[in-house]
Protein backbone atom coordinates (compact mmCIF):
# COMPACT_ATOMS: atom_id res chain seq x y z
CA UNK A 1 0.00 0.00 0.00
CA UNK A 2 2.99 2.16 0.36
CA UNK A 3 2.86 1.76 -3.30
CA UNK A 4 -0.19 3.95 -3.48
CA UNK A 5 1.84 6.62 -1.96
CA UNK A 6 4.75 6.25 -4.20
CA UNK A 7 2.31 6.19 -6.98
CA UNK A 8 0.83 9.47 -6.03
CA UNK A 9 4.19 10.89 -5.51
CA UNK A 10 5.50 9.80 -8.79
CA UNK A 11 2.57 11.72 -10.14
CA UNK A 12 3.90 14.89 -8.82
CA UNK A 13 7.29 13.99 -9.86
CA UNK A 14 6.04 13.47 -13.28
CA UNK A 15 5.32 17.08 -13.71
CA UNK A 16 8.89 18.06 -13.09
CA UNK A 17 11.28 19.29 -15.63
CA UNK A 18 11.77 22.75 -16.97
CA UNK A 19 8.80 23.88 -18.95
CA UNK A 20 10.81 25.40 -21.76
CA UNK A 21 12.18 21.99 -22.44
CA UNK A 22 8.78 20.46 -21.98
CA UNK A 23 7.45 21.67 -25.29
CA UNK A 24 9.55 19.36 -27.33
CA UNK A 25 9.55 16.45 -24.92
CA UNK A 26 7.12 13.63 -25.64
CA UNK A 27 4.75 12.89 -22.74
CA UNK A 28 6.22 9.56 -21.68
CA UNK A 29 9.74 10.93 -21.65
CA UNK A 30 8.54 13.91 -19.69
CA UNK A 31 7.00 11.68 -17.03
CA UNK A 32 10.12 9.61 -16.79
CA UNK A 33 12.47 12.56 -16.55
CA UNK A 34 10.43 14.34 -13.95
CA UNK A 35 9.93 11.21 -11.87
CA UNK A 36 13.59 10.31 -11.93
CA UNK A 37 14.60 13.83 -11.12
CA UNK A 38 12.23 14.29 -8.21
CA UNK A 39 12.93 10.91 -6.69
CA UNK A 40 16.61 11.60 -6.80
CA UNK A 41 16.12 15.02 -5.34
CA UNK A 42 14.03 13.92 -2.40
CA UNK A 43 16.14 10.90 -1.57
CA UNK A 44 19.30 13.00 -1.52
CA UNK A 45 18.05 16.05 0.31
CA UNK A 46 18.69 15.60 4.01
CA UNK A 47 16.24 18.27 5.10
CA UNK A 48 13.43 16.75 3.10
CA UNK A 49 14.33 13.28 4.33
CA UNK A 50 14.12 14.46 7.90
CA UNK A 51 10.65 15.84 7.36
CA UNK A 52 11.00 19.43 6.22
CA UNK A 53 7.58 19.73 4.65
CA UNK A 54 7.92 23.35 3.60
CA UNK A 55 10.97 22.58 1.55
CA UNK A 56 9.29 19.59 -0.03
CA UNK A 57 6.36 21.75 -1.02
CA UNK A 58 8.76 24.26 -2.58
CA UNK A 59 10.27 21.51 -4.65
CA UNK A 60 6.87 20.39 -5.83
CA UNK A 61 5.82 23.90 -6.70
CA UNK A 62 8.96 24.58 -8.65
CA UNK A 63 9.39 21.30 -10.46
CA UNK A 64 6.10 19.48 -10.62
CA UNK A 65 3.36 22.08 -10.81
CA UNK A 66 4.38 23.48 -14.20
CA UNK A 67 3.42 20.18 -15.76
CA UNK A 68 -0.09 20.07 -14.43
CA UNK A 69 -3.06 21.79 -15.96
CA UNK A 70 -4.93 22.72 -12.82
CA UNK A 71 -7.78 24.54 -14.47
CA UNK A 72 -8.56 21.42 -16.49
CA UNK A 73 -8.30 19.27 -13.40
CA UNK A 74 -10.51 21.54 -11.35
CA UNK A 75 -13.10 21.82 -14.10
CA UNK A 76 -13.27 18.05 -14.43
CA UNK A 77 -13.48 17.54 -10.69
CA UNK A 78 -16.24 20.11 -10.27
CA UNK A 79 -18.11 18.53 -13.14
CA UNK A 80 -21.37 19.93 -14.39
CA UNK A 81 -21.40 22.65 -11.76
CA UNK A 82 -18.36 24.29 -13.30
CA UNK A 83 -20.51 26.27 -15.67
CA UNK A 84 -22.40 27.74 -12.72
CA UNK A 85 -19.29 29.31 -11.25
CA UNK A 86 -18.35 32.89 -12.04
CA UNK A 87 -14.88 33.48 -13.49
CA UNK A 88 -13.77 34.81 -10.12
CA UNK A 89 -15.09 31.71 -8.33
CA UNK A 90 -13.37 29.50 -10.86
CA UNK A 91 -10.11 31.19 -10.11
CA UNK A 92 -10.49 30.63 -6.38
CA UNK A 93 -11.56 27.02 -6.90
CA UNK A 94 -8.48 26.30 -8.99
CA UNK A 95 -6.27 27.97 -6.40
CA UNK A 96 -7.70 26.03 -3.45
CA UNK A 97 -7.80 22.71 -5.25
CA UNK A 98 -4.20 23.20 -6.30
CA UNK A 99 -3.14 23.87 -2.72
CA UNK A 100 -4.93 20.75 -1.53
CA UNK A 101 -3.36 18.55 -4.18
CA UNK A 102 0.12 19.90 -3.56
CA UNK A 103 -0.15 19.14 0.14
CA UNK A 104 -1.45 15.67 -0.56
CA UNK A 105 1.36 15.09 -3.00
CA UNK A 106 3.83 16.22 -0.43
CA UNK A 107 2.68 13.58 2.05
CA UNK A 108 2.80 10.97 -0.66
CA UNK A 109 6.33 11.93 -1.62
CA UNK A 110 7.42 12.02 1.98
CA UNK A 111 6.43 8.38 2.29
CA UNK A 112 8.52 7.32 -0.68
CA UNK A 113 10.86 4.48 0.16
CA UNK A 114 12.89 2.96 -2.59
CA UNK A 115 10.16 1.57 -4.78
CA UNK A 116 11.21 0.99 -8.35
CA UNK A 117 9.43 2.46 -11.33
CA UNK A 118 8.67 0.63 -14.50
CA UNK A 119 7.97 2.98 -17.41
CA UNK A 120 5.67 1.45 -19.97
CA UNK A 121 5.98 2.15 -23.67
CA UNK A 122 3.58 4.82 -24.81
CA UNK A 123 0.71 3.52 -26.88
CA UNK A 124 -0.23 6.51 -28.95
CA UNK A 125 0.12 7.93 -32.40
CA UNK A 126 2.39 10.92 -32.93
CA UNK A 127 -0.64 12.99 -33.86
CA UNK A 128 -2.51 12.29 -30.63
CA UNK A 129 -3.12 15.24 -28.36
CA UNK A 130 -4.61 13.33 -25.44
CA UNK A 131 -2.68 10.35 -24.15
CA UNK A 132 -2.27 8.16 -21.10
CA UNK A 133 1.23 7.52 -19.83
CA UNK A 134 1.56 4.33 -17.81
CA UNK A 135 4.06 3.87 -15.04
CA UNK A 136 4.14 0.99 -12.59
CA UNK A 137 5.48 0.94 -9.09
CA UNK A 138 7.15 -2.32 -8.23
CA UNK A 139 7.44 -3.77 -4.77
CA UNK A 140 8.14 -7.28 -3.62
CA UNK A 141 5.27 -9.39 -2.33
CA UNK A 142 2.68 -7.16 -3.92
CA UNK A 143 1.14 -6.64 -7.29
CA UNK A 144 2.72 -3.71 -9.13
CA UNK A 145 0.62 -0.59 -8.77
CA UNK A 146 -0.11 1.24 -11.99
CA UNK A 147 -0.01 5.02 -12.13
CA UNK A 148 -1.61 6.43 -15.21
CA UNK A 149 -1.18 10.04 -16.17
CA UNK A 150 -3.80 11.48 -18.46
CA UNK A 151 -2.03 14.16 -20.44
CA UNK A 152 -3.07 16.66 -23.03
CA UNK A 153 -1.01 18.60 -25.48
CA UNK A 154 -1.14 22.34 -25.02
CA UNK A 155 0.72 25.27 -26.48
CA UNK A 156 3.00 25.11 -23.45
CA UNK A 157 3.82 21.42 -23.78
CA UNK A 158 2.19 18.29 -22.41
CA UNK A 159 0.17 18.78 -19.25
CA UNK A 160 -1.25 16.27 -16.80
CA UNK A 161 -4.98 16.64 -16.19
CA UNK A 162 -5.68 13.49 -14.19
CA UNK A 163 -3.73 10.89 -12.30
CA UNK A 164 -5.03 7.37 -11.80
CA UNK A 165 -3.51 5.33 -9.03
CA UNK A 166 -4.34 1.64 -9.11
CA UNK A 167 -7.28 2.48 -11.31
CA UNK A 168 -8.58 5.23 -9.04
CA UNK A 169 -8.90 8.52 -10.85
CA UNK A 170 -8.14 11.45 -8.63
CA UNK A 171 -10.43 13.73 -10.57
CA UNK A 172 -13.34 11.29 -10.61
CA UNK A 173 -12.89 10.68 -6.92
CA UNK A 174 -13.21 14.34 -6.07
CA UNK A 175 -16.17 14.79 -8.35
CA UNK A 176 -18.61 12.94 -6.09
CA UNK A 177 -17.49 14.91 -3.09
CA UNK A 178 -17.61 18.23 -4.91
CA UNK A 179 -21.02 17.50 -6.38
CA UNK A 180 -22.49 16.74 -3.00
CA UNK A 181 -21.01 19.88 -1.48
CA UNK A 182 -22.24 22.12 -4.27
CA UNK A 183 -25.71 20.63 -4.01
CA UNK A 184 -25.84 21.41 -0.33
CA UNK A 185 -23.94 24.63 -0.04
CA UNK A 186 -23.39 25.98 -3.55
CA UNK A 187 -20.13 26.94 -5.21
CA UNK A 188 -19.27 29.31 -2.37
CA UNK A 189 -19.77 26.46 0.08
CA UNK A 190 -17.34 24.30 -1.84
CA UNK A 191 -14.73 27.05 -1.90
CA UNK A 192 -15.20 27.57 1.83
CA UNK A 193 -14.83 23.83 2.53
CA UNK A 194 -11.62 23.70 0.55
CA UNK A 195 -10.27 26.72 2.39
CA UNK A 196 -11.08 25.21 5.76
CA UNK A 197 -9.44 21.95 4.73
CA UNK A 198 -6.31 23.69 3.48
CA UNK A 199 -6.03 25.78 6.61
CA UNK A 200 -6.31 22.71 8.82
CA UNK A 201 -3.55 21.05 6.85
CA UNK A 202 -1.31 24.08 7.07
CA UNK A 203 -1.53 24.22 10.85
CA UNK A 204 -0.79 20.95 12.66
CA UNK A 205 1.94 18.95 10.90
CA UNK A 206 5.64 19.79 11.29
CA UNK A 207 6.81 23.35 11.01
CA UNK A 208 5.54 24.96 7.90
CA UNK A 209 5.29 28.51 6.73
CA UNK A 210 2.45 30.02 4.76
Amino acid sequence: MKTIISVVLSGLLASFLASAQAQEVPPDVLVKNVTTEVVELITKDKEIRSGNRAKLIQVIEARVLPHFNFSSMTALAVGQNWSKATPEQKKRLVEEFKTLLVRTYASALAAYSEQRFDYRPLRARPTDTDVIVNVRVIQSGAQPVPIDYSMEKTAAGWKVYDVMVGGVSLVANYRTEFNATVREAGIEGLIRNLQVKNRSLAAPPPAEKK
Partner: protein, 268 residues
Protein backbone atom coordinates in the same frame (compact mmCIF):
# COMPACT_ATOMS: atom_id res chain seq x y z
CA UNK B 1 -14.46 -24.86 6.28
CA UNK B 2 -17.71 -26.03 4.82
CA UNK B 3 -19.27 -23.94 2.15
CA UNK B 4 -22.51 -23.48 4.00
CA UNK B 5 -20.67 -22.12 6.98
CA UNK B 6 -18.66 -19.93 4.71
CA UNK B 7 -21.73 -18.38 3.21
CA UNK B 8 -23.94 -18.19 6.22
CA UNK B 9 -21.88 -15.62 8.07
CA UNK B 10 -21.90 -12.93 5.39
CA UNK B 11 -25.53 -13.60 4.64
CA UNK B 12 -26.54 -13.33 8.24
CA UNK B 13 -24.52 -10.19 8.64
CA UNK B 14 -26.12 -8.81 5.56
CA UNK B 15 -29.68 -9.44 6.58
CA UNK B 16 -28.95 -7.82 9.90
CA UNK B 17 -27.47 -4.82 8.16
CA UNK B 18 -30.41 -4.50 5.83
CA UNK B 19 -32.81 -4.68 8.73
CA UNK B 20 -30.92 -1.93 10.50
CA UNK B 21 -30.77 0.23 7.45
CA UNK B 22 -34.44 -0.01 6.66
CA UNK B 23 -35.18 1.94 9.79
CA UNK B 24 -33.10 4.93 8.92
CA UNK B 25 -33.67 5.45 5.22
CA UNK B 26 -34.51 8.99 4.30
CA UNK B 27 -35.46 10.57 1.03
CA UNK B 28 -32.64 13.07 0.77
CA UNK B 29 -30.58 12.61 -2.35
CA UNK B 30 -28.16 9.82 -1.86
CA UNK B 31 -25.63 8.10 -4.01
CA UNK B 32 -27.50 5.23 -5.68
CA UNK B 33 -24.53 2.98 -5.07
CA UNK B 34 -24.75 3.59 -1.34
CA UNK B 35 -28.37 3.23 -0.23
CA UNK B 36 -27.33 2.30 3.30
CA UNK B 37 -25.23 5.41 3.86
CA UNK B 38 -26.54 6.34 7.32
CA UNK B 39 -25.85 2.90 8.70
CA UNK B 40 -22.52 2.72 6.91
CA UNK B 41 -21.49 6.05 8.35
CA UNK B 42 -22.36 4.88 11.84
CA UNK B 43 -20.19 1.79 11.48
CA UNK B 44 -17.50 3.92 9.84
CA UNK B 45 -17.40 6.16 12.90
CA UNK B 46 -17.04 3.13 15.11
CA UNK B 47 -14.23 1.81 12.94
CA UNK B 48 -12.45 5.15 13.05
CA UNK B 49 -12.39 5.08 16.82
CA UNK B 50 -11.23 1.48 16.95
CA UNK B 51 -8.59 2.28 14.36
CA UNK B 52 -7.31 5.34 16.15
CA UNK B 53 -7.15 3.75 19.58
CA UNK B 54 -6.15 0.20 18.79
CA UNK B 55 -5.08 -0.56 15.23
CA UNK B 56 -2.90 2.47 14.53
CA UNK B 57 -0.97 2.34 17.82
CA UNK B 58 -0.37 -1.38 17.44
CA UNK B 59 0.61 -1.08 13.78
CA UNK B 60 2.90 1.89 14.46
CA UNK B 61 4.64 0.08 17.28
CA UNK B 62 5.01 -2.95 15.06
CA UNK B 63 6.53 -0.85 12.32
CA UNK B 64 8.91 0.88 14.70
CA UNK B 65 10.08 -2.34 16.28
CA UNK B 66 10.49 -4.51 13.21
CA UNK B 67 12.81 -3.49 10.43
CA UNK B 68 11.32 -3.24 6.94
CA UNK B 69 13.46 -6.24 5.93
CA UNK B 70 11.64 -8.42 8.40
CA UNK B 71 8.25 -6.96 7.69
CA UNK B 72 8.71 -7.63 4.03
CA UNK B 73 9.55 -11.29 4.79
CA UNK B 74 6.33 -11.54 6.71
CA UNK B 75 4.43 -9.84 3.89
CA UNK B 76 5.99 -12.23 1.38
CA UNK B 77 5.18 -15.27 3.49
CA UNK B 78 1.47 -14.51 3.60
CA UNK B 79 1.45 -13.29 0.02
CA UNK B 80 2.89 -16.63 -1.04
CA UNK B 81 0.19 -18.57 0.76
CA UNK B 82 -2.33 -16.34 -0.96
CA UNK B 83 -1.02 -17.16 -4.44
CA UNK B 84 -2.72 -20.56 -4.45
CA UNK B 85 -6.17 -19.08 -4.01
CA UNK B 86 -5.33 -16.34 -6.47
CA UNK B 87 -4.52 -19.08 -8.97
CA UNK B 88 -7.82 -20.81 -8.29
CA UNK B 89 -9.64 -17.56 -8.94
CA UNK B 90 -7.75 -16.96 -12.15
CA UNK B 91 -8.82 -20.40 -13.33
CA UNK B 92 -12.41 -19.76 -12.24
CA UNK B 93 -12.31 -16.65 -14.40
CA UNK B 94 -11.06 -18.63 -17.35
CA UNK B 95 -7.54 -17.22 -17.18
CA UNK B 96 -5.77 -20.54 -17.24
CA UNK B 97 -2.32 -19.28 -18.12
CA UNK B 98 -2.46 -16.73 -15.31
CA UNK B 99 -3.56 -19.45 -12.94
CA UNK B 100 -0.64 -21.58 -14.07
CA UNK B 101 1.75 -18.70 -13.42
CA UNK B 102 0.32 -18.17 -9.95
CA UNK B 103 0.94 -21.86 -9.28
CA UNK B 104 4.51 -21.49 -10.53
CA UNK B 105 4.99 -18.53 -8.23
CA UNK B 106 3.89 -20.67 -5.32
CA UNK B 107 6.25 -23.47 -6.30
CA UNK B 108 9.28 -21.23 -6.79
CA UNK B 109 8.69 -19.06 -3.77
CA UNK B 110 7.97 -22.00 -1.48
CA UNK B 111 11.18 -23.74 -2.46
CA UNK B 112 13.85 -21.35 -3.71
CA UNK B 113 12.17 -18.56 -1.77
CA UNK B 114 12.40 -20.51 1.50
CA UNK B 115 8.74 -21.06 2.38
CA UNK B 116 7.77 -17.86 0.69
CA UNK B 117 9.94 -15.54 2.73
CA UNK B 118 11.52 -14.28 -0.47
CA UNK B 119 9.59 -13.35 -3.55
CA UNK B 120 12.01 -14.89 -6.03
CA UNK B 121 9.27 -15.39 -8.61
CA UNK B 122 8.87 -11.63 -9.06
CA UNK B 123 12.61 -11.33 -9.59
CA UNK B 124 12.26 -14.01 -12.25
CA UNK B 125 9.63 -11.93 -13.94
CA UNK B 126 6.51 -13.79 -12.83
CA UNK B 127 4.55 -10.95 -11.34
CA UNK B 128 2.15 -11.22 -8.47
CA UNK B 129 -1.50 -10.94 -9.35
CA UNK B 130 -4.36 -9.74 -7.29
CA UNK B 131 -7.49 -11.85 -7.37
CA UNK B 132 -10.16 -12.80 -4.88
CA UNK B 133 -13.55 -14.41 -5.02
CA UNK B 134 -15.33 -11.05 -5.05
CA UNK B 135 -13.53 -10.27 -8.32
CA UNK B 136 -14.42 -13.68 -9.68
CA UNK B 137 -18.08 -13.03 -8.92
CA UNK B 138 -17.74 -9.65 -10.60
CA UNK B 139 -16.19 -11.29 -13.62
CA UNK B 140 -19.12 -13.68 -13.73
CA UNK B 141 -21.43 -10.71 -13.99
CA UNK B 142 -22.49 -10.22 -10.39
CA UNK B 143 -22.99 -6.50 -9.75
CA UNK B 144 -21.54 -4.63 -6.78
CA UNK B 145 -24.75 -4.57 -4.81
CA UNK B 146 -25.03 -1.88 -2.15
CA UNK B 147 -21.83 -0.45 -0.75
CA UNK B 148 -21.19 -1.64 2.79
CA UNK B 149 -18.95 -0.63 5.64
CA UNK B 150 -18.13 -3.76 7.62
CA UNK B 151 -17.12 -3.51 11.24
CA UNK B 152 -13.30 -3.36 11.45
CA UNK B 153 -12.85 -4.49 7.84
CA UNK B 154 -14.34 -1.29 6.46
CA UNK B 155 -15.11 -0.82 2.75
CA UNK B 156 -16.93 -3.57 0.93
CA UNK B 157 -20.01 -4.23 -1.13
CA UNK B 158 -22.62 -6.91 -0.84
CA UNK B 159 -20.85 -8.92 -3.53
CA UNK B 160 -17.42 -8.41 -2.04
CA UNK B 161 -18.65 -9.37 1.43
CA UNK B 162 -19.86 -12.69 0.11
CA UNK B 163 -16.60 -13.03 -1.81
CA UNK B 164 -14.60 -12.26 1.28
CA UNK B 165 -16.47 -14.94 3.23
CA UNK B 166 -15.51 -17.49 0.60
CA UNK B 167 -11.91 -16.23 0.59
CA UNK B 168 -11.62 -16.64 4.32
CA UNK B 169 -13.49 -19.89 4.84
CA UNK B 170 -12.58 -21.72 1.67
CA UNK B 171 -9.51 -20.15 0.15
CA UNK B 172 -7.30 -19.19 3.05
CA UNK B 173 -4.54 -21.67 3.94
CA UNK B 174 -3.93 -19.83 7.20
CA UNK B 175 -7.31 -21.13 8.33
CA UNK B 176 -5.80 -24.63 8.22
CA UNK B 177 -2.99 -23.80 10.64
CA UNK B 178 -3.08 -25.91 13.79
CA UNK B 179 -3.05 -25.65 16.73
CA UNK B 180 -5.70 -22.98 16.88
CA UNK B 181 -3.44 -20.69 18.85
CA UNK B 182 -0.94 -20.73 16.01
CA UNK B 183 -3.67 -20.04 13.50
CA UNK B 184 -4.97 -17.11 15.50
CA UNK B 185 -1.50 -15.69 15.92
CA UNK B 186 -0.98 -15.95 12.18
CA UNK B 187 -4.26 -14.14 11.55
CA UNK B 188 -3.22 -11.41 13.96
CA UNK B 189 0.25 -11.06 12.52
CA UNK B 190 -1.11 -10.81 9.00
CA UNK B 191 -3.63 -8.20 10.04
CA UNK B 192 -1.09 -6.07 11.90
CA UNK B 193 1.40 -6.30 9.06
CA UNK B 194 -1.28 -5.22 6.66
CA UNK B 195 -2.36 -2.28 8.75
CA UNK B 196 1.26 -1.24 9.14
CA UNK B 197 1.64 -1.24 5.37
CA UNK B 198 -1.36 1.01 5.13
CA UNK B 199 -0.26 3.59 7.70
CA UNK B 200 1.10 6.03 5.14
CA UNK B 201 -1.80 5.56 2.79
CA UNK B 202 -4.35 6.25 5.49
CA UNK B 203 -2.54 9.44 6.44
CA UNK B 204 -2.71 10.57 2.86
CA UNK B 205 -6.39 9.75 2.68
CA UNK B 206 -6.88 11.87 5.77
CA UNK B 207 -5.17 14.78 4.02
CA UNK B 208 -6.71 14.45 0.62
CA UNK B 209 -10.36 14.07 1.50
CA UNK B 210 -12.91 16.70 2.33
CA UNK B 211 -15.19 13.93 3.50
CA UNK B 212 -13.16 10.83 4.20
CA UNK B 213 -16.14 8.56 4.05
CA UNK B 214 -17.08 9.65 0.54
CA UNK B 215 -13.49 9.72 -0.69
CA UNK B 216 -12.79 6.23 0.56
CA UNK B 217 -16.04 4.89 -0.84
CA UNK B 218 -15.42 6.23 -4.32
CA UNK B 219 -11.84 5.07 -4.31
CA UNK B 220 -12.91 1.61 -3.22
CA UNK B 221 -15.58 1.29 -5.90
CA UNK B 222 -13.30 2.62 -8.63
CA UNK B 223 -10.52 0.33 -7.53
CA UNK B 224 -12.66 -2.79 -7.43
CA UNK B 225 -13.98 -2.07 -10.89
CA UNK B 226 -10.44 -1.73 -12.12
CA UNK B 227 -9.42 -4.99 -10.45
CA UNK B 228 -12.31 -6.93 -11.90
CA UNK B 229 -11.22 -5.88 -15.37
CA UNK B 230 -7.56 -6.50 -14.52
CA UNK B 231 -6.63 -2.90 -15.04
CA UNK B 232 -8.48 -2.39 -18.32
CA UNK B 233 -12.05 -1.41 -17.50
CA UNK B 234 -14.18 -0.35 -20.44
CA UNK B 235 -13.65 3.35 -20.91
CA UNK B 236 -16.21 5.70 -19.53
CA UNK B 237 -17.63 8.18 -21.98
CA UNK B 238 -15.11 10.93 -22.42
CA UNK B 239 -15.87 14.40 -21.19
CA UNK B 240 -15.02 17.50 -23.16
CA UNK B 241 -11.67 18.86 -22.19
CA UNK B 242 -12.16 22.62 -22.38
CA UNK B 243 -12.15 23.97 -18.86
CA UNK B 244 -14.81 26.53 -19.62
CA UNK B 245 -17.28 24.17 -21.14
CA UNK B 246 -19.62 22.32 -18.85
CA UNK B 247 -17.73 19.03 -18.75
CA UNK B 248 -20.72 16.78 -18.58
CA UNK B 249 -24.33 17.04 -19.46
CA UNK B 250 -25.80 13.96 -17.96
CA UNK B 251 -27.24 14.18 -14.44
CA UNK B 252 -24.92 13.47 -11.57
CA UNK B 253 -25.54 9.79 -11.51
CA UNK B 254 -27.94 7.94 -13.69
CA UNK B 255 -27.32 4.21 -13.25
CA UNK B 256 -30.16 2.03 -12.13
CA UNK B 257 -30.39 1.78 -8.36
CA UNK B 258 -28.97 -1.44 -6.98
CA UNK B 259 -31.45 -4.23 -6.40
CA UNK B 260 -31.56 -3.84 -2.65
CA UNK B 261 -33.29 -0.51 -3.02
CA UNK B 262 -36.37 -1.83 -4.72
CA UNK B 263 -38.86 -0.32 -2.37
CA UNK B 264 -38.73 3.45 -2.33
CA UNK B 265 -37.10 4.90 0.75
CA UNK B 266 -39.63 5.69 3.38
CA UNK B 267 -40.18 9.37 3.88
CA UNK B 268 -40.27 10.44 7.43
Amino acid sequence: MTLSRALSLPLRTLSLLLALAGGCATTEDRDPRDPLEPMNRAIYRFNEVADEWVAVPVASAYRNVLHEQIRSRIRNFFANLGDLWIGVNDVLQGKFFDGFEDGMRFVFNSTFGLFGLHDVASDMGIEKRDEDFGQTLGRWGVGDGPYLILPILSSSTLRDTVGWGVDIFVGDPVGEFRPIALRNSAYALRLVNRRADLLDASKILEQAALDKYVFQRDAYLQRRRNQIYDGNPPREPREPREPDEPPEKEPAKAPAPPPAEDQPAKPR
